[in-house]
Symmetry: C2
Subunit: 230 residues, 2 copies
C-alpha cells in the first residue's frame, strides 16, 4: 500500500483474465481504482457482466461502462457478425481477424478523457506482449507512444502533470499472470476469455483466447476453473 | 489533382468553418474523401446537420456519424448542461471550460479505426494553433505524437504502411483559412461555429468560437455571412 497511496487510477476492465489481474494489482498497490468497461458491439457481451462482478469482488471505487460505436466500421470478427471467429492459429504470423481496429487506442483515449475529468493520471491496461494473439496495439512500443501522445493531448501536458500508462502484465507469460492473480485473490472462475461463449456460459476451448488461457493454467500449475464445452 | 491521386482519406468533419475548409482542401488535392462526424452529446447538435450539408456540397465520397459517449465523463461546457458556455476571454491563458477532455485524441482514434478498415492512411483534421482557444490537443506537438502512436498501434505499423495525420490549417490564421476556403468554393454560410446557437440558427456573436470567426472574416476582408443574434 505504498506506490498508489490512494491516488485515483483508471483501470480498463473487460471481464477477462488479464484485466481482472491488473485491477487486483492496482488495488494491492494502493490505488483508488475507477474501472472503465466498453460496450462496443462485441459479440461476447457476457464479458460486461463479468467486468461488473470483478469490479465489485476486487474492491473498485467505481465502475462505468461506455458505449462505443466501433461496429460502425466493421472489419473484425469480434464486432462484425458476418466474420466468423476461427479456431486458434497462434503460430501464424498474420494478425488474426479477431483484431478490432485501433481498439486499444480508442479504449485508452476514453481512459484519458475520464482521467482528465477525475483527475486520475494513472491509467492501467492489461496488454501483454508475451502470450498474446499478435495484435499490434499490445506491443510495448505502442504503450510508450500512447503515453507520450497523452501528455501532449491534455491539460496535463500544459500544466506539468504527467499521465502514466501502466501495463503491469506486459512482460509476463500467461502462467505468470495467473500465478500473480491467484496470490492477489482473483477468482478466475468469474472471468471470461472465450470469443465464442455459448448461451450457457461455456467456453469453446478452441479459439485463440481459450487456447492461451488453457495453456496459461497448465503453465501456472493451477487447476483451470473454466467451464468448457464438452 | 496530384498528391492524393484518388487515394482514400478520412476527414474529420464537424460542420464548422475549419473542417469544411479541410475537406475542400483534401478534395482539391485529389483525395477520395470519407468524412467522419461525431455525435458526442454536444449541446450544439445543429453542427451535425451542417456537416452533412458540407459533405454533400464539397463532393465527399461518403459520410458517417459515430455516436460517442463522452458526456458520461462530463467536465466540459460543451457536453455538460450544468456548465454554461462563457463569453469569449481569449487573452486569458487558462484552458477554457469549452475544452472537451481528450476530444481530438478520441476523434483521431476513431479515424484510425476506420482508416484501418477501409484502408485509408491519410487522416485529415482541422486543428489550428494560431487563432484558437488554447486547447492542448490543437498543438503541433500533439499531432506529431498522435501520428507516431498511430503507426505503433496498427497493422500499418507492422506491415510497413504509414498513417499520416494531415493538419493543413495548423499554421494559418483564421483569416487565411477563410481566404483559402473561399478560393476552394466553400460556402461558409452553411457552416456553424457558435457554441450557443439559438433555436432559430442564429450565432450568439460573443463566445470564443464566434469571436474568432468574426475576427477571421474581418482579417480576410471577406463579408461575414453568419447570421448573428441582433
Amino acid at each position: 500500500m505504498t506506490q498508489g497511496s490512494n491516488k485515483k487510477a483508471i483501470i480498463l476492465l473487460s471481464g477477462g483474465l488479464d484485466s481482472a489481474t491488473v485491477l487486483a494489482h492496482a488495488v494491492s498497490e494502493g490505488f483508488q481504482c475507477h474501472c472503465l468497461s466498453f460496450d462496443y458491439g462485441q459479440s461476447h457481451q457476457t464479458e460486461l457482466a463479468h467486468a461488473r462482478i470483478m469490479a465489485d469482488a476486487l474492491g473498485a471505487a467505481s465502475h462505468r461502462t461506455a458505449h462505443l460505436d466501433l461496429a460502425v466500421f466493421g472489419g473484425s470478427a469480434l464486432t462484425d457478425e458476418t466474420i466468423d471467429v476461427p479456431d486458434a492459429d497462434l503460430g501464424n504470423e498474420q494478425i488474426p481477424v479477431t483484431y478490432v481496429p485501433a481498439r486499444n487506442t480508442v479504449f485508452l483515449a476514453y481512459a484519458l478523457a475520464w482521467g482528465e475529468v477525475l483527475p486520475a493520471y494513472d491509467l492501467f491496461i492489461g496488454v501483454n506482449a508475451v502470450d498474446y494473439s499478435g495484435y499490434p496495439d499490445c506491443r510495448p512500443a505502442f504503450i510508450e507512444a500512447f503515453e507520450r501522445m497523452a501528455n501532449q493531448a491534455t491539460k496535463a501536458g500544459v500544466e506539468s502533470q504527467a499521465f502514466q500508462i501502466h501495463a503491469p502484465l506486459l512482460h509476463l507469460t500467461k502462467g505468470e499472470i495467473i500465478q500473480k492473480g491467484v496470490k492477489l485473490g482473483v477468482n478466475y472462475e468469474d472471468t471470461v476469455s472465450c470469443y465464442r461463449l455459448t448461451d450457457a456460459g461455456e467456453a469453446c476451448g478452441r479459439c485463440d483466447a481459450c487456447v492461451l488461457r488453457k495453456d496459461g493454467f497448465i503453465e501456472a500449475g493451477i487447476p483451470d476453473p473454466t467451464r468448457y464445452v464438452r
